[in-house]
Structure formats: structure tokens, C-alpha cells
Symmetry: C2
Subunit: 330 residues, 2 copies
Amino acid sequence: MATIIDVARLAGVSKTTVSRVINNYPHISADKKKQVLNAMEELGFTPNLSARRLRGQVATTIAVVVPKIVNPFFSYLVDAIEQVGYKNGYQTLICQTNEDKEKELAYLNLLKTKQADGIIMTSIENDWETIKPYIEYGPIVLCNEYVSRVDVPMIRVDQYQGTYVGVKHLIEQGHRKIAYCTGGLFTEFGKDKDRNHGYQRALEEAGIAVNPNWILVDKHTIEDGKLVMRQLLEMKDRPTAVFTGSDEIASGLMMAAKQAGLSVPGDLAILGFDDQPIAEVLEPALSTIRQPIEQMGRKAGEILLAMLEQADLEPAVYELPVELIVRKST
Amino acid sequence: MATIIDVARLAGVSKTTVSRVINNYPHISADKKKQVLNAMEELGFTPNLSARRLRGQVATTIAVVVPKIVNPFFSYLVDAIEQVGYKNGYQTLICQTNEDKEKELAYLNLLKTKQADGIIMTSIENDWETIKPYIEYGPIVLCNEYVSRVDVPMIRVDQYQGTYVGVKHLIEQGHRKIAYCTGGLFTEFGKDKDRNHGYQRALEEAGIAVNPNWILVDKHTIEDGKLVMRQLLEMKDRPTAVFTGSDEIASGLMMAAKQAGLSVPGDLAILGFDDQPIAEVLEPALSTIRQPIEQMGRKAGEILLAMLEQADLEPAVYELPVELIVRKST
DNA sequence: AAACTGATTGAAACTGGTTTCAAAAAAATG
DNA sequence: CATTTTTTTGAAACCAGTTTCAATCAGTTT
């Protein structure tokens, strides 16, 4: 690999001058600039980013922490973030935690060692108290997942509202026995708490008591959805509608329901969350709560880049709207 | 951030000794080792990877080039690769080309500047002649996509066989009018050529002439599938079966077919490719050619890592089996 | 013509690690 | 006990850039 010294030698200047050309500093004679450019071209020179980082403390890399990239919700999020990054000359490092606390911390260390300038977290495994100290090493933006304290910018949808609207819709369809089946365990705050809150509130307003048997948490995949359906089938007192935390769970639920001879929405109404491509493909098409995934990713990327330009940006909460999409499954 | 010098000072040794402890070199007194370890702990020291890279020429990073991460085929591939990488202490850099030649080259430059030790390419946008020179800078492994010359290891499935078996299956179901609808444009070699070849061969063996109207290329998404269906509907002479290059295209096709009142497989048989989760969810469940995505990713990761350990590994072709999964759509 | 200004340039220091080299100390050998 | 070998250690060089600082140079201003 050609180094800056090779270029300097070939161009007959010092490496300082070459560095100035690379970084587009003013006050360089057009003459020398051209020589340097030619030399760079001739040698196929690409500056070594490790060296730049070491001195300059700039990584031009952002890291995106996701639980699982195979989950379309997160792959769309990563997609949007990556686009913003690339447009601004940043590389995107994809960090998959697989819901492992250790792994999450390992990825946070990228900040410490300046391998990433900033991190966008789309999920949180550790306590916020564990993660918070890392903001000292570089900007962190939360996107999708959030916490109660505003130590960092958060891009989120109103999960409470989403769930509330969804459950209310089910109630309006005449359902009184509504199961609730979502991802995270109940936490003290954040996404899952708000969802839970929305569910409870909608029931409460309609004067419906919560049946704890119908609350199923820690469900994520299509497979989980199938399992949940089996659980529901075994109940003496079965719900007539299910609010799910993702279109995947809803898909599994629907498959298993149909297999068991139940009609959707006749015997069981199913409501998804996210509005992924799969929602439209299902038969019957899935009613769902649409999250503006792309917008969220883009916003998160933009905020992070803004923070990198301007370190003192005040952290704020950016709330994007959710929307109930009624199709055929409710 | 604490540096190695801070640690050395606190432990009362030279930074050389600290470095030796970090890298687990022999010949260090248990005594000093302990002091260093304590100091590292106390300062929360994490070595700066840029510095290590700069000197050591090791990035402990692998890059994965994909056309689009939102395509589940690629996200599963990335997932498998990332797992192998993480287990071996490597970070995974996700590089999305969006089918842009420039972007692909930008990502190949990661090798040149030692930001990545090696690259796994799951798609190829530029000519192989353009890409090939980069192997000088670090190992490249092709996974999924391939080229005719064996300059680098290739992990692939027998695309010819997959398509051949699939089309033959359709013929065995009594179809004589079989459309072919897949991703890449016809290239001189590689995946798409072999698929095309398998299609032609299967028809030929059954004494069926190819109808060029029924050959549709450059289709990738669900949306593309819907569009194709519209095209098919407008034809006077319509195919009775479609072989598709991905489960997404097949999904779009199926949706539009049902919307148009066609029964699947009665009026139109549809065969997918990949066997993604969506295949099982569709109604009727999609018959498809299963690719061992996870295996492919894992193998690609392992080969790349092996090449990093042992630079002189002879490039070879690793062919994994495809399998016809017959469900309800054919 | 002397003094001042700003543009242009390069030498040297610096980033935070690893590696080389040599020396000192300890252990093993004859 | 002298000699050899092996451990243990640190100083200094090195990786490839960026940044600081000072010097040179040309053009103005007095």
C-alpha cells in the first residue's frame, strides 16, 4: 500500500503538504496541489483510516446496535440509518446483540476505543445506569427503544398510543376478551411498559377487567406466535382477539389458528404491530399498527450526525406518529 | 480515556510490559502481571484498536457486502456470518451497496486501508476484473454470488441444479407453459447464467420451446412480483406456472394473482426460491427451492477466518445442496 | 528601503499501541 | 564457581497519518 510518504516523495513535497491536500486546507498553491493529486492518482493512494483515527480522534463510523438483524423491523431501521450515514461519508457498523448483555457492552466499547464516533441503539439489554456512563465517550442515540430519563436523544413512536388505539379498535369491533402478546418483559419504563399501559388503559375505559392468563410476554418470532396459539387453544376461557407486539408474532398466530380450523377474524381477531411487508401478504391481510420505520431510522441517523458536528446538542425526544391500518384480520 | 501509558504508570512498569500482558506474551513475572491487570481494571482500560491496527496490521473486522439488508435472504446470511465472526473476536461491518458500483468499490477500499481484514461478498456489481485486484490487499470470499474463475474461495449452491429441479417439478405437475422470473440480468457467468441454464435445460429435456415473452429479469421485491403478475394477466397466451428467483417475487405474484381472482395453483402454479419464513405463511403455502442460507453464511465466515490465519489457503469452491420443498402452491 | 502582512511550506511532535533490540537478572549446566 | 542459557524488562523505533510551530517568500505599506 502506498503511504502518504510515497505520495510526498513522488510529488516532491513534504507529507504535511500532502495531508493538507487530502483534507482540503486552504493556502496551497494550485501548482503543488496538482502535483500531489497526480501522485495520489498514480499510486492509487487511499489514506489509512486507522492512522487518521489515531491522531484525529475521528472514526467516520457509526455503530447501530440491534437485537437481531433478521427481524425485518430492525433490518429496515438499519437500512435507513446506513443510507443517511453513507451520504455523509460515514460507515455503518452493525452490532447484533442477540439479546446478550455482554455483547451489548462489548459493542459500547467501540465508542471508548474510538472505533465508532457514535452509537444508535435500537434495543437495550443492560440497565440504563450501566449504559449511561458511555455517553462520556461519544454520542448515543436511542431509536425505537427508550428510557424515562432524557440523557440522550430518543427517536420513538408513542407506544402507549399505538397499543391504546389498537386495543380500542378491537373493543370497537365488539371484542371483550382481548389477549395481549408482546416482546419485552415488563420493565419499569420504556417501550414495553408504555405498551402495557396502553393495553390496560383501553380495557379500563371500556370497563373490561384484565385477565392475567391472556397476557403473554417475551414473544418475538413467528415460531413464538405458533406456540402462543397452541397455548390459547388449550384455555377453557379463550380470548376472541389478540393484540400482538409484532407482525411476526401475528403471522405465527394466524398460521396456527388456521391450522386449528379457526377462522380469522371470525373466531379470533388478530392485530399486528409494525406494518411489515408480511402484513399485506397474509391471508386474511393483517390489520396492524404502522410504525414509520424508515423515518425513525433516518431521523436517528440525522440526529447522531448533528451531535457529531456539534457536541453540545441538547438531547430531546422526537416522537413520530403511529397509525392504525385496518385490513382483514380484525 | 486511559491509555497504555496511564496503566504503565499506575502499575509501575513500562508500557512494553503492559502491552505484553494485554497480548498474553510469555515470560512475565506473575507479580507484575497482576499489578498490570489491577491497573487496567482500575482505570477501565480498553486498548485503542486504531493504534493496534496501525502497527499490527490487524483489524479484527470483517466486512460483508450485501445489495440490500432488508432482503431477508441477505439478512440471514449476515446473521450467520456475524455469529461466526463474533465467536472469533471479529467485528462485522455491514456494507450495503444498493446495487451501486461506486459504493461497492468504496467498500472494497476498506481492505486497502486495513479497516477490514477480509471481505465476504454476497453480491457483485462490478466486473470481476475490477474487483480481482483487491485480493492483493486481503482475502475476499464470495458467498452466494460467484464467478467462473476460481481466484477466491466461493461458497455457493448449485443454482443450475436448483432451477433445473424446480422447473422439472413444474413440468411433472403437467405444466408446459412455464414463465421464468428472476433477479439478475443475464450475465456471462455466475448465478444468473446458471439459473437461466437450468431453466432452459429442463424445458429442453421435456421438448418444450422457450417463450421469450415469459422470461422476466431484474425482479427482486414483492412489488416487482405484483407488477409481473399484471404483465402476465395482459398476455393473450398466459403461462400456467411461474418459476421465481426468490420467495419475495413469488409472494407478490401470489398476492396479485389472488386479487385477480386466479386460484393458486389451479390457474397458476408458483414456485419460489430460498425458503424464507414468508413461504410457510403464504396461503397457499409456497413451494420453493430451499437454500441452506445459514450454512452458507457460516461456511463463508469460517473460510474467511481460516484465510486470515493462514494466508496461503488454496481457493476452492464449496457447493452446498439445494432442496425442493413442495408445499401447496404447485 | 525598511517594516509589516499574509500566504505557503516543511520539520518535528504527536496519536496509542506493537515490535525489535539489548541489557540485566535468574536459573541451569559443566 | 564460572559459564551458558533462559527469563524478565524497558528504551527506542515504528505504524501512517494530523497538528503545531516556525521559517520563508512575495506583496504592501510607510
